[in-house]
């Protein structure tokens, strides 16, 4: 192609990339919710788990501790911080122990007669009121008088205090300076975020908001604020992973560039060979943008890793160029093999699409689009741009020597058998569980953080994140009624120390039936006035003192019953709303448990309810989810394997040749698995993903080594290309293997081992090369 034509092609290609880039930047919406990388739930428990993991009341709690020089300062800071956060839209609840009447919205105050259980057993008649007033006189002469002096005119029966007692956390920390303090002298706060717990970006935003509010307080100097809770952990894990991945990525990119420069000694070739990869990445993202409303951050991270396979295409072209030969001609010779490689990689990634997990589907769309674009641009665009004259790698002395050594290697027929036998033995002898079912094991947190969380959770009486009591009924009111029904049994369990505390929805809001019954027992204004006058006789209370009480009771008589929707306007209603979930036209109530000591007793309670009440073990549900997920991926992989065998056999038009390609690949894959098992590694989903990537690379090696051109120089070029590919893969993934984060280590170790085994086995098991 003439120079002018090449220039135009280059400009046009770059222009298309720029357009794609502009489109992607404009339209790309990145989501960070980790749940789109979890399998879609199938059982009701699993579905509940997925919701709870992200949005359940427990997962949205941030536990805050303020440490500082003086208790007085900490108390003030706690109050000021709570006041600042109350005003912020990002937080649905802020608790620091200072219970005041504002917990019950002033507009809702008359509702106390419908919410408090007093009227279940008493009526507001003269004897009851007399008894209450006499008790209040005793209260006024007792040391605690100041606690209720302000309340008395409006609430002589102290319903507000009864509700406060009912709503106070079952096990609350010590109050000092009017706010919660831990035994270690830290001021404690609990903040519930609106953002989902497993959305690291939204949580990071919520945490930053708290930090800023704290830093803006006038006397925060000398005091420090620290965090705990699921949301904070997801932020820590995401930051750690991102930090290490970026650092490793930078180092391996530099290494990769140096390697390619050493191998081809041409900056021009290096830059041009980056074009197919850039096109692949941009086209992949564009496809995602077109097909999905949001693209997951992890899809992009993993996707770029998996696109590493595509880097092989230009490398193969560069290594296989002959002196004086047109690049277009070189590519034409390579194309059938390259096409087979592209097609088989695409088939392997189709397995991800079949897994049914939205994140993995995105990953499949991204990589398959990317591989096709990289492959076809390497075939039809790149060769026209490459310089006409290049240095042929074939005559390089070290390569000649290397090829000779490789060819001289003994290739006894029993090698595959021995390797297979060793693999089976190692798999059989490996100790410990085969699969890693615990999702948490993949996002490790420093031990101190977990200990601190346990300590804060214990001090605050915050709910256990593992167990939930599920109450199911056809309607919302049905759930509340069911909750009222089991309340006595639950109280008995708490008394027996089977569990420290249980929080049921009816604790915050009685069912309408109960509210109606209480409302109907409220006397008319005249009746109450009369009863009160009779009760007050001979007592020193001032005349007319209880007018606010009479007004509130009168108001309560005609109040519309308090529904969860109406209640939701207040902070406590928010808490209730989080405990009531609609599902397929039925309603679920979520009872949180703190300090579970006797699971069997709770199961017994659930069992006795005849299915209306269930004890959900979130850990069990999570593990069953992972097992389902794996089974699905394994099935998809099996199907992909069958397709792969067919595709390769058709492409090579020979079962024998297909065997030479597929046998080393399969054997190496199982060998990686066996070695990891013997080393005590439990296999997680990330190991499976990495095994597939390694198998894709191994397939390339086997395909190219199997090719018998009858030309020794061409065989040397194949070795050169494969060596460059193997070294670059080892460089990138070997770096990941050193990471301290299990997800990255799993991928790095598996791919590095895989690349090494695939390379060795495909050389040793290749049909014997002819001697020069």
């Amino acid at each position: 192609m003439p120079f002018r034509g090449r220039l135009w092609l280059l400009v046009a290609w770059l222009a298309v990339l720029a357009l794609l880039g502009g489109f992607v930047v404009h339209r790309l919406r990145i989501s960070t919710d980790l749940r789109s990388f979890m399998p879609s739930p199938t059982t009701p428990d699993q579905r509940l788990l997925m919701e709870q993991v992200g949005e359940g009341p427990g997962s949205r709690l941030l536990l805050l501790a303020i440490t500082g020089p003086s208790e007085a300062q900490l108390g003030t800071l706690s109050q000021q911080l709570a006041a600042a956060l109350h005003k912020d839209e990002r937080y649905s609840q802020v608790l620091n122990g200072s219970f005041d009447l504002t917990a019950l919205d002033p507009a809702l105050l008359p509702y106390r007669y419908l919410l408090s259980p007093t009227l279940d057993s008493a009526t507001f008649d003269a004897p009851f009121l007399r008894d209450q007033l006499e008790q209040r006189l005793d209260d006024l002469s007792s040391p605690g008088a100041s606690l209720l002096k302000g309340l008395l005119p409006r609430d002589p029966t102290l319903e507000v205090l009864k509700l406060a007692e009912r709503w106070a956390p079952a096990k609350s920390p010590e109050l000092r300076e009017g706010v919660w303090f831990s035994a270690q002298g830290e001021a404690l706060l609990v903040v519930q975020t609106r953002a989902a717990g497993f959305d690291p970006d939204a949580q990071a935003n919520a945490i930053d908001g708290i930090r800023q509010a704290f830093d803006a307080l006038p006397d925060h100097a000398g005091a420090t604020l620290s965090f705990s809770g699921p949301g904070y952990f997801s932020v820590v894990a995401a930051t750690q992973t991102r930090g290490q991945a970026e650092w490793i990525g930078r180092v391996s990119t530099v290494g990769f560039i140096v390697l390619l420069l050493l191998a081809y000694r041409s900056v021009g070739s290096l830059l041009l060979s980056a074009l197919p990869i850039a096109s692949a990445a941009l086209a992949g993202i564009a496809a995602l943008v077109l097909l999905f409303p949001q693209v997951h951050g992890i899809t992009l991270a993993f996707g770029f890793t998996l696109l590493g396979v595509a880097q092989e295409y230009p490398i193969r072209v560069l290594s296989h160029r002959r002196a004086g030969e047109d690049a277009v001609q070189s590519v034409r010779d390579l194309w059938p093999l390259l096409l087979t490689a592209i097609a088989s990689a695409c088939i392997a990634y189709l397995a991800f699409y079949a897994s049914g997990v939205s994140g993995l589907r995105q990953l499949a769309v991204f990589t398959i689009t990317g591989l096709l674009v990289a492959g076809f641009s390497t075939r039809y665009l790149l060769p026209h741009l490459l310089p006409a004259r290049v240095r042929d790698v074939a005559p390089m002395p070290w390569l000649v020597a290397a090829r000779r050594t490789v060819d001289a290697l003994p290739r006894p027929r029993w090698i595959p058998l021995v390797v297979a036998l060793a693999t089976v033995l190692m798999l059989g002898l490996a100790q410990g569980p085969f699969w890693q079912n615990d999702l948490a094991a993949l996002t490790p947190l420093p031990h101190e953080l977990l200990q601190r969380d346990a300590h804060l959770r214990d001090a605050l009486g915050a709910p256990d994140v593992r167990y939930l009591l599920i109450l199911e009924a056809p309607t919302e009111q049905g759930v509340l009624a069911l909750s009222e029904r089991i309340e006595p049994e639950v109280t008995a369990l708490v008394a027996r120390h089977a569990v420290d505390a249980v929080e049921l929805p009816s604790r915050y809001l009685p069912s309408e039936a109960v509210q109606r019954a209480r409302q109907q027992k409220l006397p008319s204004r005249e009746a109450l006035e009369q009863a009160l006058a009779e009760a007050q006789q001979g007592l020193p209370f001032q005349h007319g003192l209880f007018a606010p009480f009479l007004d509130d009771v009168e108001t309560a008589r005609s109040l519309p019953l308090l529904t969860p929707e109406r209640f939701a306007a207040s902070p406590l209603g928010q808490r209730l709303a989080a405990m009531l979930v609609e599902r397929d036209g039925r309603w679920l109530g979520l009872g949180t448990l703190s300090g579970v000591h006797d699971v069997a007793a709770l199961q017994q309670l659930a069992h006795a309810s005849g299915g209306a009440v269930r004890l959900l073990d979130l850990k069990d549900a999570a593990e069953s989810l992972v097992v389902d997920y794996r089974a699905r991926i394994l099935r998809a992989l099996l199907a992909a394997t069958v397709l792969l065998v067919v595709a390769i056999s058709v492409a090579l038009r020979s079962l024998r040749r297909a065997w030479h390609v597929l046998a080393p690949m399969t054997l190496a894959t199982f060998l990686v698995l066996a070695v990891e098992r013997v080393a005590g590694v439990e296999i997680s989903l990330f190991h499976l993903v990495a095994l597939i990537l390694a198998a894709g690379l191994g397939l390339h090696y086997a395909l190219f080594f199997e090719r018998d051109t009858g030309d020794a120089a061409e065989q040397r070029r194949t070795l050169h290309a494969t060596l460059v590919c193997v070294l670059s893969a080892l460089l990138v993934f070997g770096m990941l293997a050193w990471s301290s984060i299990p997800v990255l280590r799993a991928i790095g170790l598996t791919v590095s081992l895989g690349v090494a085994f695939h390379f060795c086995l495909s050389i040793v098991m290749a049909p014997h090369a002819r001697k020069d």
């Binding site: 005793d138 006024l140 007792s142 606690l147």
Partner: protein
């Protein structure tokens, strides 16, 4: 002398350094070994009541920060302050308890009472600014103002009247105008049937 006792605060201010020393020696002289018990009668004047509430019983310092207030009349009730927790027990009802931090009056009562009975003037000075008025060591008044601004918000002033080494009277003036007067020791038997603020003040300061 008469002039001086009429303008008590003026005298106190005029001779502050010596009075601080005297106050310390008075407080030190009040100290006695725990447990120390004294009968008391209390009248509480409150805005929301037509008449004061009157109760009587026994106050006991049990050592350290433990105080017991046992009411015998009109209804039996025992309140105990121990380990930062207040527990109230009434006949025929389950005991109730709450944190001392929620009841600032109690905190002040504890601070002043324990310091007085322990003869611990340092502790007293930590919690309060002290003004001492007295003609001689036989007859004196300590006026205590809480140093903690939040506590001062509820209780503006505590006055303790005494004679020799005996505290006789404790008046707690609340910021909202309510007043509690405790007659201690032998004076506790002299609570009038219908007490008034002025009558009790005269009783405390007078003979």
């Amino acid at each position: 002398m008469l002039l001086c006792s009429l303008t008590l605060s003026l005298c106190a201010n005029a001779s502050a350094p010596e009075d601080a020393v005297t106050a310390r020696s008075v407080v030190a002289s009040l100290g006695r070994p725990a447990p120390a018990r004294t009968p008391f009668a209390e009248a509480r004047f409150m805005k929301m009541l037509d008449q004061p509430l009157v109760v009587s019983g026994q106050l006991s310092w049990l050592g350290d920060d433990r105080l017991e207030r046992a009411v015998d009349h009109p209804n039996r009730e025992v309140s105990t302050i121990a380990d930062g927790q207040v527990t109230q027990q009434r006949e025929g009802r389950p005991p109730r308890s709450f944190s001392l931090k929620r009841a600032p009056q109690l905190q002040l009562l504890l601070d002043s009472f324990v310091a007085l009975l322990g003869g611990d003037s340092t502790r007293l000075e930590q919690a309060f600014t002290i003004q001492y008025h007295g003609d001689d060591a036989r007859r004196w008044t300590l006026a205590l103002t809480p140093r903690d601004p939040t506590l001062a918000h509820t209780v503006s002033r505590i006055e303790i009247d005494g004679r020799g080494t005996e505290p006789r009277c404790m008046r707690m003036q609340e910021a909202d105008g309510d007043l509690a007067v405790d007659l201690l020791g032998e004076l506790s038997g002299k609570m009038p049937a219908a007490p008034t603020r002025d009558g009790l003040a005269a009783l405390c300061q007078g003979g």
